[in-house]
């Protein structure tokens, strides 16, 4: 009718309704799955947190048990991140802003391909190729940078230590970080790049003025995705590292902090009774760590969202 007033509901299009229903459904499903996992971890894990010495490999409390593994997890992941992020950003930048089109295309495919390599392959490669190859480098670091707690040594002759584990993790998370950074860098509006160039910026200055600030939140998100993968990585670390329940910053010696994920993978087959609950409880801790990392990343990204260029 022609006399419809504005206060009446506007007609809802069918496509809109289907889309919003699907989006809502997917959102609820994700929340349900997440809640399910959390409940499982809580129900199965709480008995582990209160478990006695018997199921804790001789430790006094659950916290004393999980502490070194939590430390090792975070430590290995940070090593991986510190190594991987600068390299990933460099490669991504080369692909997006320096390489000729053909080279960029080929490199892009290679990076995507690397992202699809299963982690067990990385683990085996870490044992057979990387660790022996790294030994001379470790030795050099021990001799020349031994005053740093990370390189105290003595270098393990097999090379299967935290140093190698961190680098294997770095290689594993490199492709995903590179791929995302490349996408983000390519999104920099042409108009803003030209604004910088017209002011007389060199290519590198243009990148610092527009590409990096514009891609900042993308770089953080990509790093967090990489960190998430590194934190939860089981196989590669379990294969390379024989971790023990100690705290140490030394990456070269035979004694290294284990990681939660690798510890679960190594202990689970033999565990029974409350020991299973203990392992699940360590999983709960890993869950909390990962969640905290993602939350912090969100906060970092949001803090300067006004300047993100999205508005």
């Amino acid at each position: 009718m022609a006399t419809r007033t504005r206060s009446e509901h506007p007609p809802v299009r069918r496509g809109d309704r289907i889309f919003s229903a699907t989006a809502l459904g997917a959102g609820i499903l994700i929340l349900l799955i997440l809640a399910g996992v959390a409940i499982f971890l809580l129900v199965q894990g709480v008995p582990g947190i209160t478990a006695g010495r018997g199921s804790l490999s001789g430790r006094d409390s659950f916290w004393a048990y999980v502490g070194p593994f939590a430390f090792g997890t975070v430590y290995a992941s940070i090593i991986a991140l510190v190594v991987a992020v600068p390299i990933a950003v460099g490669i991504a930048l080369f692909i997006s802003h320096y390489a000729p089109r053909r080279v960029a295309l080929a490199l892009g495919y290679i990076v995507d391909l690397l992202a699809a390599v299963p982690s067990v392959v990385f683990g085996v490669w870490g044992i057979t190729v990387l660790s022996p190859a790294l030994v001379p480098i470790m030795q050099w670091l021990e001799d020349n940078a031994g005053f740093l707690p990370f390189f105290e040594g003595p270098t393990l002759t097999s090379g299967r230590n935290m140093f190698t584990a961190g680098l294997v993790l770095a290689v594993m998370i490199l492709p995903i970080i590179t791929a995302i950074c490349r996408e983000v860098f390519l999104q920099t509006p042409r108009l803003h790049e030209e604004a910088a160039l017209a002011l007389g910026a060199t290519r590198w200055e243009m990148i610092r003025m527009t590409v990096f600030p514009y891609g900042r939140s993308g770089i953080v998100s990509a790093s967090m995705l990489g960190l998430g993968r590194a934190l939860g990585e089981t196989l590669a670390v379990a294969l390379v590292l024989s971790g023990s329940a100690i705290y140490t910053f030394n990456t070269l010696a035979a004694e290294n902090s284990g990681t939660i994920a690798a510890n679960i993978a190594l202990q689970f087959p033999e565990a029974s009774g409350t020991a299973v609950n203990v392992l699940i409880a360590t999983g709960l801790i890993l869950f909390v760590i990962t969640f905290a990392v993602n939350y912090t990343a969100r906060k970092i990204v949001d803090r300067r969202s006004e300047f993100s260029g999205a508005n």
Binding site: R101, P189, L191, H192, E193, E194, A195, A196, L197, A198, L199, G200, A201, T202, E205, M209, T210, P213, Y214, R216, E306, F307, S308, G309, A310, N311
Partner: protein, 259 residues
């Protein structure tokens, strides 16, 4: 300070597509030259070739010669980065850096030249540039807000402030007023009047009155058909082009009897 520009036989390509053909025109120092012509005739392309911004588009290139104060702009020894520091540009669409504050936007160019700047120097430059661009009063109390928080017209004036903050010798302006209200437009025109004592200014405009008001020389570009390259039809003193042009199509375009 100001520089004269001598263009001879310039062809502008996008890949294989010849967008502008055979432009020959002298542009006097310390003068305002207006480019007019229908959409798509290559005014922006030509303007961008004057500070080597054309070549940043993949596949884009030029043929011919541009001499700026005796130096070959496209000569082997000419560094495009150095060229762009001396030949400033305001784009057709406002493009302040969204990740920078208003303040940082204005001194972005100066930062490139001098990494270390005294705070007071920077403050002065920001105020002076923003006043010239008629934006100071509106942003005075929110200089730390993002550049993208401004209205479109304000953003364009911010870009003008950014371009003049480095005191370039030549200022290229691509329809700087197309997003502005009459008050800001007149402020920008005043600014152009002030600047021409020291700078060489080239302005692209679709506004005939504006061309008549601000420029001493006017150049009319046209293209014979879609897909054909644009050409410079004629140029001359603005009074002559607007009162008694040599070419019929110029008169038709100016009087609005186009096509």
């Amino acid at each position: 300070m100001a520089k004269s520009i001598d263009v001879s036989d310039l062809n502008i390509y996008y890949g294989d597509f010849l967008a502008v053909e055979g432009v020959t025109i002298p542009i006097a120092a310390k003068s305002v030259t207006a480019f007019i012509g229908p959409s798509g005739c290559g005014k922006s392309s030509f303007l961008r070739s004057l500070n080597r911004m054309h070549e940043v588009i993949p596949g884009a290139r030029v043929e011919g010669k541009i001499i700026i104060d005796g130096n070959d702009l496209y000569g082997a020894g000419t560094d495009p980065v150095a060229v762009r520091r001396e030949i400033g540009m305001v784009f057709q669409r406002p493009n302040p850096f969204p990740t920078m504050s208003i303040y940082e936007n204005v001194i972005a160019g100066m930062r490139l030249n001098a990494k270390r700047m005294k705070k007071s120097e920077a403050d002065d430059a920001v105020e002076k540039s923003l006043r010239s661009a008629n934006l100071w009063a509106e942003v005075e109390d929110r200089l730390r807000r993002p550049g993208s928080s401004l209205s479109g017209g304000q953003q364009q004036r911010l870009c003008i402030a950014r371009a003049i903050a480095v005191e370039p010798q030549v200022l290229l302006m691509d329809e700087p007023c197309s997003a502005l209200d009459p008050i800001s437009t007149s402020a920008i025109e005043d600014l152009i009047h002030d600047l021409q004592h020291d700078y060489t200014i080239v302005i692209v405009t679709h506004n005939m009155q504006q061309a008549a008001r601000v420029s001493e020389t006017t150049a009319f570009f046209n293209l014979s058909a879609v897909g054909e390259p644009g050409r410079l039809v004629e140029y001359g003193s603005t009074t002559k082009i607007f009162s008694n042009p040599d070419n019929e199509s110029t008169e038709a375009y100016i009087s609005g009897r186009f096509g």
